[in-house]
Symmetry: D2
Subunit: 401 residues, 4 copies
């Protein structure tokens, strides 16, 4: 048993909670009418905007990512509205199911589990909507399940080229605070995120950023309910309206601290850190997979891989066995493969995900790779040589002297 | 400045968070697929049922109390359904506004700000609905704003007498874990609560208990959305379905600890503690108010007062001045008077609330009363004698030798 | 059982630990060679000096108060040296025993358990030492057991009047951060304190402040050992020398926070707060004791009472019964009477102590008094009327409008 | 900057504090006269004995390791007594200096910085003391500075062979809870340890275990002072005597939790974990050093290496540069080389230490090695290939399938 130290959670959310965040949440309940809490909350808005690269509005919900989807849906749509959902993994399908279940006619364009949005296909779909019935296009920036990353700016460019007036709504739950994102520069109208991944706060907060254009276009959405209504949340006249009731006091202090950490490091540096650590993981998989067709990254083109999580194949049942070994023997918990095969399908046990999101550094990530290799050795899983050297080299090059 | 010790928050929610709860929440993020978290969660359901006195279903939401209202509404109703809301304070009105905004035709019976539901008036209203259009009756057990407590069993009895088939839905946000409540014995179909008052967990969890009868009667409610749908939350086949997504990991560990504390003390003992402390507060106000008509409890009849919070008058602007003095000089934060007068009405400054909910004992409560009296002396607020002796006497009698 | 809220510890040390201090100690282990810890430690010294009112040296020990005594002893004396110990309570005797056990010939002047040093008697003793054999005079500022406070400036004045060259060493364990203290202005050469009372940090740090005069006079003390040697601790050239080994990392961060709190409030304000709260406790006892000879403060003259702890009589076995009742029924733990009677003497059960030291405010202190009165009522302990009103009045007058 | 995740401290003490230990210490101050604290403390003694493999007495001191040395010294010796100190690193010298400074005539046998006690030389020294003047032999089990481990059983065997009656006192500060230790089976009379290494508790507790034989032999030691006296600490009649004053409340709760963790894992499993992780570190250094004479482990023979810390050479100034890089770029803090060269000697920058003590697992240790290699690559430090593969292989073999 070589697991009895600090357990390391490398699942794609919740991510490792920084001590600073947990400490900020370990506090007496505050007054929710005046004083430290309301004063602090006013400092959150500019930082949340800066994080997303926008001057847009932002609403915080006591909710998880699914709740944030629903919040976006409820404000975007009226019953019977039409939407186009671009799916590049399980969570693209999930958002589609969510919006459909609320009474929206959503068309799904499915790009599979390992590739980004095919822009030509998307363009065709848009052009087919000559009557501009589509109220919004919904797309996932990085799909937590497949780790596919979409080029949001290119998607917007297609919409502009076609001249389609639909709103562009993006799910950044798995990418916010990890991958570069420029809401305004990329022409995004609505964006959703959640607290527990790149934002390094326990699950419990969902976020929706929305532009003036979206606010206006959605003025009459009839799916809106008091809890999801983004208007008072973004422009409260009384403190409780930010939260449609009691504020999520402790999470807000945690969020303040995580935003402090991001600000101290700098958004660009945070993104560069994630990019480098992602490359180190990819380098290891490339080496393990050389000559071992069972082992491969899920997304072939590095340009289409998210920087916060890496989905991979390891050959069934190796992935499941390795995950078990790591948890029991090395103190590391990897993510399951999600949406790649049904849990009762033997193929299910050939997928796994390595998260590298949020509060993550070279020590944590290289430690995961090294223990993975130890596990492959122990379990007799065939793998190519040189993975750890390659991963360390990526770190060396990224960090510099 | 005699405030520089442990600040004491006596607002009616969030309440004082026990060290045990905060400690339980100060932990690394857990795996959300297997292990300690899912195993622990299975222990919550029976305890939540026992707490409410029911064998019903229970759904936990990442939400505040307003979200719990909306969850209940979304499951109870279809657009255009009719409801009857019995309001005995600001939060009765709030629930009515919430359900109306979702498209339900809700009739409001307003019983004012200082009295419980008038059963005769309620009976008339029920009888007037000869066609049984009312899908549900919504009522607040204890209104956080007015501190009025309603006799839920009597309300059910009226419904039974009339033979009206409407569901009975009760808001126990301010009373759960404080005042006696017997969901099944009292014939309650749907009950909502939240984490931050008697349950002693930071804001962030809402709860809806619902009976088989409610489940069946609401099978086709079309306001239901994936996030609010109580069916998978109460009967999940996969762990994530309990939460419609990512679990509120840290709050759940906090909730586990608060339920442990309640179980260790015993539900009846918890209620008796709240009853005794409430009586000590009432005794003090009765004494202060003797000969001082400005000072009075909001609810005349002790039988109709909630045990978790006490709304009172102190004469404007005395209430506001006293609250300010207590915070600055004594380390105590009282609740504002809510819903009694508009904040820009001078009368607003004549109301306040003293909370005594959740993790509260004789030391905390008597300390509040004693500092209140100190503040009245310091500020020259006329008040009758003997309040502290009377409050101490109530404690003595309740505690015994 | 009205105890199930926040327990309140009113024993004379350890005192209530502020959340800020506990949070500061809840952290990963730091590097002990460079970085945040050594940088922070440099900020402690000026604050510790300012706290004591001195430009003297200060040594921090990983030790409790008894260790701090021993540290002072080991630096002050060589074997066979002579000392004069002025005892006004159990801890005066304790320091005497400590120094005697180390091989010092200490003469004890015992002033009983309820009165301060009799200056005339002290003067006589000094004059009797015509040969100036006494190396140091040891005295307790406030004795934790008796709550007697000595007038240190007056004691120094006697020494000056007599022209005796002995060093003046003062035990401020129970008073530092509670009662006014001016080391340099009062002519104190050596002063000892500990972390767990007015300094609001868990037990584990002892402190010795010492003047240049003491440093010089004690240059050849042969009781000195490497661990107790105050020279490197006060003037380290390498970081580890401050601690004669590994630094008490977590306590130091706690201490930093407690010193921040004291600095934010201001030393004079801290003292005034303690004085006012002490007077409120005295007022209650005076009222309870009126017509009840069993109930009385231990020290008759308010000028000779410490402001951090109040020793009192309640009549045996009432004190012990009341302490038990408070712990079980009200969530309050009072201190036992220490050194007043042997534990197996029935009289032992007539004494108790109420602490009001460190992180303490009006709410906490008045809450203690109110629950004490509730307990007296419940247990049928006769007591005079008006105690709580009197205590509240003291607070009102001290706090002002 | 790839450092911005959880910082990892790999210095040889303080070690990584487990969340469980920090959580146990984050608590309100307890009563020190009755209740939870005294009851809990009674459970510590059997566990501390079991940890050391003894039925001996054990005393807990509020102190660091140097304080524990002094405690042992003060009980073992009278002024002028003679001792033999066997030094195999800086801390052996340190203990010798400590005991000499207290007035003991200690002879130092210095075995250098990279080798264990030479048993023949030791035997000669013992035999030279035909008059049995040596009261005790002092030796370090694992020297924190050199990482040399001594064979304590063999040292005792020499003493038995010679028939020398000296007591055998062992410093296990760096090994307790890491390397196998059997106090009684190995014939150890006195053993000292501290909290902040294998015991995973912040610095602040020192421990001395001592046998009945030692108790008897040291009955008249005149260096003993009240604070260091081990008799009441090991056999207190009143709770405060365990601590010669106020108990180190928070550390004790932390210690309870760390002992729980050790008991849950099992002492033998803890040792096996440390052994395996140490071997993985050694394997990496062996590979890096192949063909690079600058890189080498400090102790040639694995049998003489401690399992909690590894001292190594990396060539000046590479060691210092690498340490800096790791801290800045990878979030890892390694230990400095201690006692190998003076800080102002250029050679100083060729030494470092990697700690792997206490709360440490495969992820943490392999992560350190991988980031070290990344740093060597980034800084252009020549090193042999295959180190990470070798280290992972050790882990694989130790953990099994």
């Amino acid at each position: 048993m070589l697991a009895n130290g600090r357990p390391y959670l490398a699942i794609p959310g919740p991510s490792t909670m920084p001590d600073r965040v947990l400490a900020a949440m370990h506090r007496a309940a505050p007054n929710i009418y005046a004083g430290a809490l309301p004063e602090m909350v006013e400092t959150l808005w500019p930082d949340l905007r800066a994080l997303a690269g926008t001057v847009a509005h932002v609403a915080i919900y006591i909710a998880n990512g699914h709740g944030a989807w629903e919040a976006a849906n409820a404000n975007l749509f009226s019953r019977g509205d039409r939407a186009l959902v671009l799916a590049t993994g399980r969570f693209g399908h999930g958002w589609c199911e969510s919006v459909q279940a609320m009474g929206v006619q959503a068309d799904l364009l499915d790009f599979g589990k390992a590739a980004p949005v095919d822009l030509a296909r998307f363009e065709s779909a848009l052009r087919a909507d000559a009557g501009h019935k589509l109220k919004a296009v919904l797309v996932t920036h990085v799909d937590t399940a497949s780790s596919v990353k979409n080029d949001i700016a290119a998607i917007r460019a297609v919409m502009d080229t076609v001249g389609h007036p639909a709103l562009l709504a993006v799910d950044c739950i798995a990418s916010m605070g990890c991958d570069a994102f420029h809401m305004d520069a990329w022409g995004v109208d609505v964006m959703v995120a959640a607290s527990q991944k790149g934002l390094m706060v326990p699950p419990g907060l969902g976020f929706v950023w929305f532009s003036d254009k979206a606010l206006l276009a959605c003025a009459n959405s009839d799916l809106r309910t008091p809890y999801w209504d983004w208007r008072p949340r973004a422009n409260a006249t009384e403190f409780w309206q930010y939260w449609a009731g009691t504020a999520p006091t402790h999470h807000l202090f945690g969020l303040r601290e995580s935003l402090n950490m991001i600000a101290e490091e700098g958004r660009a540096a945070v993104w560069a850190r994630h990019a480098a650590l992602a490359r180190s993981v990819w380098a290891a998989f490339d080496a393990w997979g050389a000559g071992n067709p069972d082992i491969a990254l899920n997304v072939a083109d590095p340009a289409h891989r998210g920087h916060s999580v890496t989905a991979a194949r390891l050959g069934a049942p190796h992935a499941t066995r390795l995950r078990g070994w790591l948890e029991e023997k090395a103190g590391v918990t990897l993510g399951i493969g999600l949406g790649m095969a049904a849990p009762d399908d033997p193929a299910y046990h050939g997928f796994l995900r390595v998260a590298h999101m949020g509060h993550v550094n070279a020590h944590m990530t290289l430690g995961v790779l090294a223990t993975m290799q130890a596990g492959m050795v122990a379990l007799g899983i065939p793998h190519g040589p040189g993975a750890l050297d390659a991963a360390a080299r990526v770190v060396a090059e990224a960090a510099g002297a």
